[in-house]
């Protein structure tokens, strides 16, 4: 899923982990820079910081 920051930046010191494995500071940096980032999950404690980016459905072509 793709996520983006809602408002306040995520503190690096929290070590919030959006993917399997250990903490990846690059993911948090990208989010704090305003980028949309592809991740595996949103941990419960991160729900106040980020939200999932929903893909807009494509409009049907008029015949």
């Amino acid at each position: 899923m793709k996520i983006k920051l809602i408002k306040e930046p995520i503190r690096d010191a929290l070590g919030i982990c959006f993917n399997k494995g250990a903490y990846d500071p690059e993911v948090v940096k990208q989010l704090n820079d305003g980028e949309e980032v592809e991740v595996e999950r949103i941990p419960k404690k991160a729900e106040k910081y980020v939200k999932e980016v929903k893909l807009k459905p494509k409009k049907k072509d008029k015949k």
């Binding site: 503190r11 010191a13 929290l14 070590g15 982990c17 250990a22 903490y23 999950r41 941990p43 404690k45």
Partner: protein
């Protein structure tokens, strides 16, 4: 011969440690070469070294009593252990943390891809505090110090309690050596670095830098930090075990008692919902985000919750336990960092 005219207080004894350069050679007394200082640890009590001699006390065939000739004793194949606890002060902690982590500078850390470390008679001129000499300095000044060489710190714990000594940080350490005791009637060892008042306090940590597995701003009542890096002894020579290797799991765990509040109430859910293969968050106790020289601070960049439970007190409290997890077998990212 007459009875002795002087007895001693247990508090008159000291526990000293020093960096040891060469395998098999006790760090010399002050003024020797190399002149690594003997540092006095601020211990609560001197304790007793466990010599762990191998004894055979079974009476042999042909007799119903243990004859003197039946008695067996060996000291070459024994691992001597020493445990002390006391108040954490800078000079001793630097040496202990450096020894158990194998890192020479602050913050003391172990990498996720840490390998083994073997010390043998080929270990000479080591300068990274890999070997220690330990002295039980006797109050009786003449030929009574207990001296041990080729010593390694295998477990180190820290703890603090807001209700005890104002949160002053205490320590416990366990040491092992597989070499013969250097001298159990050693001449008087000079204390080169006396106990100082360089104490550390958990009250120095900032609220937003008190983080338990990603839960920040915890209000702490007490904590403990436990580091283990055990050793294996193999081979035997006339001077004891031939080789010692740090080969077991290097681990860092911590336990906390904190206030149950809006910052910590989610711990139960987060403990329950942890995902296999993923860190739950960082654990940090510090004055800022980075453990640095001169302050007692520690950080697990990645950690998992291993227990969460209520703790009844005047307030509802939480006990939370965490364990540091690595960033991958090929990663040099620190498993844990500790500074002092």
């Amino acid at each position: 011969m007459a009875i002795a005219t002087q007895a001693f207080s247990p508090k008159q004894f000291s526990f000293l440690i020093a960096e040891q350069d060469d395998w098999g050679t006790l760090n010399p007394n002050s003024g020797g070469s190399p002149d690594n200082p003997y540092i006095a640890l601020d211990v609560d009590s001197i304790g007793t070294p466990s010599l762990n001699v191998n004894q055979g006390l079974e009476h042999r065939s042909g007799s119903r009593v243990l004859q003197a000739t039946d008695f067996f004793q060996d000291i070459k194949g024994s691992v001597k252990e020493f445990s002390v606890s006391g108040t954490a002060t800078t000079e001793g902690l630097d040496l202990l943390l450096s020894n158990i982590t194998g890192s020479a500078s602050v913050p003391y850390s172990v990498a996720s891809n840490a390998g083994t470390s073997t010390l043998t008679s080929a270990t000479v001129n080591q300068t990274d505090q890999q070997l220690l000499s330990v002295i039980y300095k006797s109050a009786y000044g003449t030929n009574a110090d207990l001296a041990f060489k080729d010593v390694l710190c295998t477990a180190l714990s820290f703890n603090g309690d807001a209700n005890t000594e104002g949160g002053r940080i205490k320590f416990s350490a366990t040491f092992k050596t597989g070499s013969l005791a250097s001298d159990l009637t050693g001449s008087t060892t000079t204390i080169d670095t006396a106990i100082t008042a360089n104490n550390y306090y958990m009250s120095n940590w900032d609220a937003d830098d008190r983080i338990i597995a990603g839960h920040a701003d915890v209000i702490l009542s007490s904590f403990s930090l436990n580091i283990t890096n055990d050793v294996e002894f193999v081979g035997l020579t006339a001077t004891g075990f031939e080789s010692v290797t740090r080969a077991g799991e290097i681990s860092a765990t911590a336990e906390f008692t904190c206030v149950y509040d809006s910052n910590t109430s989610a711990m139960f859910e987060n403990f329950n919902d942890q995902v296999t293969g993923a860190s739950e968050g960082a654990t940090l106790m510090a004055t800022d985000t980075t453990p640095s020289n001169g302050e007692f601070e520690f950080k697990f960049a990645s950690s998992v919750l291993t227990d969460v439970s209520f703790s009844d007190a005047g307030l509802m409290m939480l006990n939370a336990s965490v364990k540091a997890v690595g960033a991958g077998i090929g990663s040099s990212t620190a498993l844990f960092e500790v500074s002092c």
